[in-house]
């Protein structure tokens, strides 16, 4: 099945690089459920711009280091 969003992300890698932060830890920092973090990581949900900024802030990196959108071909 095609993923419902073209937006990809590096959350899994960033969690690993942040002392292996768990999905639950990230969810607590952002103020969402762990299931939502899982859905974002797997590309099943595109977060709002506000949540995207909160996730980037949790890793202390710019937004485009967390989320990526493919170039138009």
């Amino acid at each position: 099945m095609a993923k419902p969003t073209k937006v990809t992300n590096s959350i899994r890698r960033l969690r690993f690089e942040s002392d292996e932060m768990t999905q639950a830890d990230l969810a607590d920092r952002v103020g969402v459920t762990r299931q939502t973090i899982i859905a974002i990581e797997h590309g099943r949900y595109s977060p709002s711009l506000e949540m995207a900024f909160q996730i980037a802030r949790a890793f202390a990196v710019p937004l485009d280091e967390v989320f990526h959108y493919p170039e138009e071909s």
Binding site: K3, T5, V32, Q35, T36, H42, R44, Y45, P47
Partner: protein
């Protein structure tokens, strides 16, 4: 599985289950005779009441079993709720053409009442199914 997703499963299954139980009771009562002669009003109302009570009880039990998740709802849960209600509402609106047509044709009140109940069950079950699908497959 989140609290909301469990709740949607419970709502859908209870709506379908209580309707199935109601249908079995009415069909047995008819005993092969005409359905329009069956006393159905109180059974229908009790079934709807039982369905509402069971859904509330199920939600309470799910919350008690997962107290840490019971009050957690985020933007994804709210978006899925809106999507499911919108699509379920479309099913309900289209489905209501059935009882509307029955009433225009002067069908017996048995068929009109039960068609309305059926459409409500289908609409709420569809709404729950759309929500569960959105949780499972994304949207």
């Amino acid at each position: 599985m989140s609290f909301d997703e469990r709740s949607k499963w419970a709502s859908g299954l209870i709506s379908l289950g209580t309707f199935a139980a109601y249908a079995v009771i009415i069909l047995r009562r008819a005993g092969g005779g005409p359905l329009t002669d069956v006393a159905y009003r109180s059974t229908l109302l009790w079934t709807i009441g039982a369905s509402v009570v069971l859904i509330v009880v199920a939600h309470v039990l799910i919350a008690v079993a997962n107290p840490s998740e019971a009050d957690k709802r985020d933007e994804r849960d709210r978006a899925i709720e809106r999507l499911g209600e919108y699509r379920g509402g479309l099913v309900l609106a289209v489905g209501m053409l059935g009882p509307f047509t029955l009433s225009l044709w002067g069908a017996d009140h048995f068929w009109i009442s039960n068609a309305i109940y059926l459409v409500f069950v289908v609409g709420s079950t569809a709404s729950s199914a759309f929500k569960v699908a959105a949780y499972r497959k994304g949207f």
